[in-house]
Subunit: 348 residues, 3 copies
C-alpha cells in the first residue's frame, strides 16, 4: 500500500516498540501490532511479556481478561494461559491438550521501551538499536517517556514526517522551527538498517520557543534524525551560542535527544511513542506541556494526509523535491527489507 509496492505492509522480522516500559505492569495492556492482537503484562518477577490477544476458543480479547499469578484467565470462559502461551487450565474439563495455546512474542526491555518481535524468524537481539548510538545514554541528558498515541494513519506517514525535517520550518513555525530548517542543506549517511540525516545551521535566529525563553542572540544549531529501521527515529536538537558572541561562543543553550518510536498497528493506524532527553533532570512535566502541541501538529498533518489518500484513492502521484532525498532513501530501505522478507517467505 502507498507509498509502498502493492501488497507490502510492513517489515515483520524486526523489533518495534510495544510500550514504554513504565506503562506495563500488572494490568493487562491491549495492543494491535502488525495487525495482530497482543497483550502485554509483567509477570510476578517483574519481567514483561507479550502474548497473543485473542483467546483461541471464542476470540474473546485476552486484554479484557485478568491475571492470576502469571497466567491470563480469559474473562469469558476462564481458559487460562501461561506467559509461555501454553494453556494451563480449562475449567470445564480435566484434560488440557498440548496443542491448546496462544502465540507468544519475544519482548525485551531496553532503554525506556519494551520492544516486541512479531516476525516468524528468530528474534535477533543484535538488531535492537544501540542505546549509546541513539543518544539514550548521553551524559548530562535525561530521557523521559512522554506520549503514547494511537494515530489514525498508516505508519509511513509518520516516518515520512520524521525523515524530512524541513517541515519544522512550516508545520512547527510557531515553536521549534525556523526557515533555516528548510533552507539548510542536509547531510545524509546510509548504513545497514540506519539512515542518518543532519543539518548544521550557523548564525541563525533562535527558534520561537528559544526566543520565548529569552534567547536573543544568534544561534548555531545541530538538527538531525537517525532512523533505526524499521521503528525508531532518534533525533538530535542542539542549540549553541553562535560565533558572534565571542564570550559565550559554543556554550550550549539547549540540547535534546527526541525519540520517536513508530509501530504499525492496522493498515491505517499506528502507535506513536514519543519521549525526549534534555539537560534538565526533572523536565518531564515541562517537556510534555511544551511538546504536546508540537507532536499534535505532526499527528494532524499525518491524519489529514491519510484522509486525503482515502479521498483520492490508490497510490496518488507525488512530485518529489530535493529535500525528499532522505525520505526516499528511508522508503527504499524499508521496501528492500519487505522485499527480502517476501522472497524468504516464498522460498520457505
Amino acid at each position: 500500500m502507498y507509498p509502498f509496492r502493492e501488497g507490502s505492509f510492513a517489515v515483520r522480522n524486526a523489533w518495534y516498540v510495544a510500550a514504554f516500559a513504565r506503562d506495563v505492569g500488572r494490568a493487562l495492556v491491549s495492543r494491535i501490532i502488525l495487525n495482530q492482537p497482543v497483550v502485554l503484562y509483567r509477570k510476578e518477577d517483574g519481567v514483561a511479556v507479550a502474548v497473543g490477544g485473542r483467546c483461541p476458543h471464542r476470540h474473546f480479547p485476552l486484554g479484557a481478561s485478568c491475571l492470576r499469578g502469571d497466567t491470563i484467565v480469559c474473562g469469558y470462559h476462564g481458559i487460562a494461559f501461561g506467559a509461555d502461551g501454553a494453556c494451563v487450565d480449562i475449567p470445564a474439563q480435566a484434560h488440557v491438550p498440548r496443542s491448546y495455546r496462544i502465540p507468544t512474542y519475544p519482548l525485551v526491555e531496553h532503554g525506556m521501551w519494551l520492544w516486541i518481535w512479531m516476525g516468524d524468524a528468530a528474534a535477533n537481539p543484535a538488531l535492537l538499536p544501540d542505546l549509546d548510538d541513539i543518544g539514550f545514554t548521553t551524559p548530562g541528558l535525561y530521557p523521559e517517556p512522554l506520549f503514547t498515541h494511537e494515530v489514525a494513519c498508516r505508519y509511513q506517514l509518520l516516518n515520512d514526517n520524521l525523515l524530512d525535517l524541513s517541515h519544522l520550518a512550516f508545520l512547527h513555525s510557531s515553536s521549534i522551527g525556523t526557515i533555516e530548517n528548510a533552507r539548510t542543506p542536509e547531510t545524509v549517511t546510509q548504513e545497514p538498517r540506519v539512515l542518518r540525516s543532519r543539518r548544521y545551521i550557523r548564525d541563525c535566529e533562535p527558534t520561537p520557543a528559544m526566543a520565548r525563553r529569552g534567547v536573543t542572540g544568534l544561534v548555531d544549531q545541530v538538527v538531525g534524525m537517525d532512523f533505526h529501521l524499521p521503528g525508531l527515529h532518534a533525533g538530535i536538537g542542539d542549540h549553541f551560542v553562535a560565533t558572534g558572541d565571542a564570550e559565550s561562543w559554543g556554550e550550549p543553550l539547549a540540547r535534546s535527544r527526541p525519540f520517536h518510536a513508530i509501530t504499525p498497528s492496522t493498515p491505517t493506524s499506528t502507535y506513536y511513542f514519543f519521549g525526549i532527553a534534555t539537560m534538565d533532570p526533572d523536565h518531564a512535566e515541562r517537556s510534555a506541556k511544551f511538546l504536546a502541541p508540537v507532536i499534535d501538529e505532526d499527528i494532524f498533518a499525518s491524519v489529514e494526509i491519510e484522509k486525503m489518500i482515502a479521498l483520492v484513492g490508490g497510490n496518488p502521484p507525488e512530485l518529489m523535491i530535493k529535500s525528499d532525498h532522505n525520505a526516499v532513501l528511508g522508503r527504499r530501505m524499508l521496501q528492500a527489507m519487505m522485499d527480502a522478507e517476501a522472497r524468504e517467505a516464498a522460498t520457505a
Copy 2:
C-alpha cells in the same frame, strides 16, 4: 459467514421476536430484521401488524411516517398503505394501481412477545415456541419484559453465549456465576428445533448475588437453557436449600425463567430482547436493576468478539473444548436449517 458456511446468514422460515408486545402501540416502531426494513404498529382494533419499512416510491422509511387510522401515510409524498400492504391513496393521482403495495409479514402476539415470520414459505403457527414448554406459564412465576438492545455483533455470538453457560463462572463471576457453572458436567438433549441443556449443581456456595441477599448455607442449583431454534433461549435458574440443612432442605431460595430472544438484524447487528419470570409478582424494577449489568457483560463480550473477528478477518480458527458440545450442536442445527432452506430455494 462465521461461524457458518460462506453464504449462510440466517434461517428465514421461522418466527423471530420483533418486539415485546407492550412496546408496540399506535406509534410506528422501526426495525431491521433479517436485513429487511420493517414497521410494527397496532391497528385501531388493537391487533399488531408488521409491514415493509421502505416506501416503494422513493425509499423513504415508513417508520418515520405516521398513522391515519390503520394506514401508514408516507411522510414524504403521502402515499398511504393499509395494514394489508395495499396502497390506498396516492394524493397526486386518482387511480391507485393494484400492484402498488408494500410487503406484509405475519405477526403473532404470543406470550409477552410479538413474533414475526420473514420467510417466503407459509407462516406456520405450530412452530411458535410452546408457552408451557418454555416455562412462561409456570405457576408462581411472573414474567416481565426487561430490555430491548440493538447489539453491534452478528447474532450467533449471542447464541454462542447462551449455548455455553460455563461463561457464568467467569463473565458473571461477580453476580450470577460460581466456578461450579464451569466445572459441573452438562446434560444435553436434542429434539427437532429444540436443544436443551441442564446443569444440576449440588451443595455449592451461593452465587455472589444470592450471598448479597443473605443466603449463607450451601445451595442446590438447576441451571439450564432451552434453545428453541432459531430465535429463543428459554432458561432456568433455580436455587434450593441444599441437603446439609435438614430442616429447610429443598426449599426454593429463588426460581427464575429468563427469556432471551435473539433476532438477526443486519449481518453484524442483532436485537436482543431480554425478559425474566421470578417468584415476585412485582419484580420488574428490581430485576432490571439487578440484571442490567449482567446482560451488559454478555453484550460487551459479544461486541468485543465481533471487533476481534473484524480484525483477524474471515473465519478465524477455533480450538474447541468439551463444554462446546452444546454450542456445536446448536450451530449444526442452525446450519442444517439454513442448508435445507437453500436446497428448497434451489429446487423452486
Copy 3:
C-alpha cells in the same frame, strides 16, 4: 449509481455552486467537489479563485495551509503555489520546476454565488444560469444567502426532492405545504438544460405558516421550480388574495424566490446551498429562523433515504406515480448529459 446508470456519477462540464460569494474571503475554504479536493479564496484584489486542495508533494490539504499574498503556502513543507496553480517557491531548493503545479478551476462570481467548473472541457460562461431568468433580479425581491449544509446523501436525492414539490403537502405539512401541493396538477416545460414546473393553486386554504401570520381568507398560489441543470433549482412561491375577496383580489400576500444549489461532493455526500429572495429587504434573520426547520426536513428525508439505499443495496426498484413526471424528466436529462460526456471522453 442509483438512480443513474452504473458508472454514472455526475455531469462534469458544468457550473456548480462552490460557495456563497460572501463566505469566501482571505481565509482558505476547503471543499470536496465532484470527489476532488478544492480550495477557495480571494486574492488581494478581491477576485475569488479555486485551486486543487492537495499538495502534490505529500498530499497535505492545502485548505489547512495559509496565504502569503495571493499564494498558498503549504502548511507542511512550505511549498507555495500561486493562484494560477504554478509553484512559486520550494523552500528547500533554488530551482522550481515548471511542471510543479496544482490544478486550477474556473471560478465565477455570479449572483450571490461562486460557480466552479470542474470538467476538462473549456469553461463556458454562457452556461451560467441567467440571473433574470432565475428570478434573482426580480424587482421588489431581496435575495439573501442562508444555509450551507454538507448532507450525507448522494446529490440526486436532493434533486429528487426539489423536482417533486408534491412533498410539500406531507414533509412540510406544518409549515409551507397544504394538501393542494399534492392534488393540483403540475405544468412541466422542458428546455435545453432547464426544466420548469408550476402549480397554480386557486382558492386554497393558507399554508400553516401563512395562517400563523394572520392570513385567514382563501389564497391563490403559484408554486414552482426551475431546474437549471445540473446544479441549481430556482423556485417560485407566490401567495395572493383569492378571488373571493373582491376588494383585495390579487394583492400579493407573500412572494419569494428560493434558490437551492446542489453540488455533488463525494458519491454519498452533497453540498446544499440555500438562499431566498423575499419582499422584505431585511429578512435574512427572520427567513433563516423560519426556514431552517423546513430545509432540515428535506435533509432528514434525503439522509434517511441514503441509509435505506445502503441497507437494501444496489439499485432498489421504484414504483413510479404520475407526479414523478418532472423528476423522471430531470433524471433523464442528467443521464443524457452524463452519457454525452462519456461518449466524448471515449472519442478523445
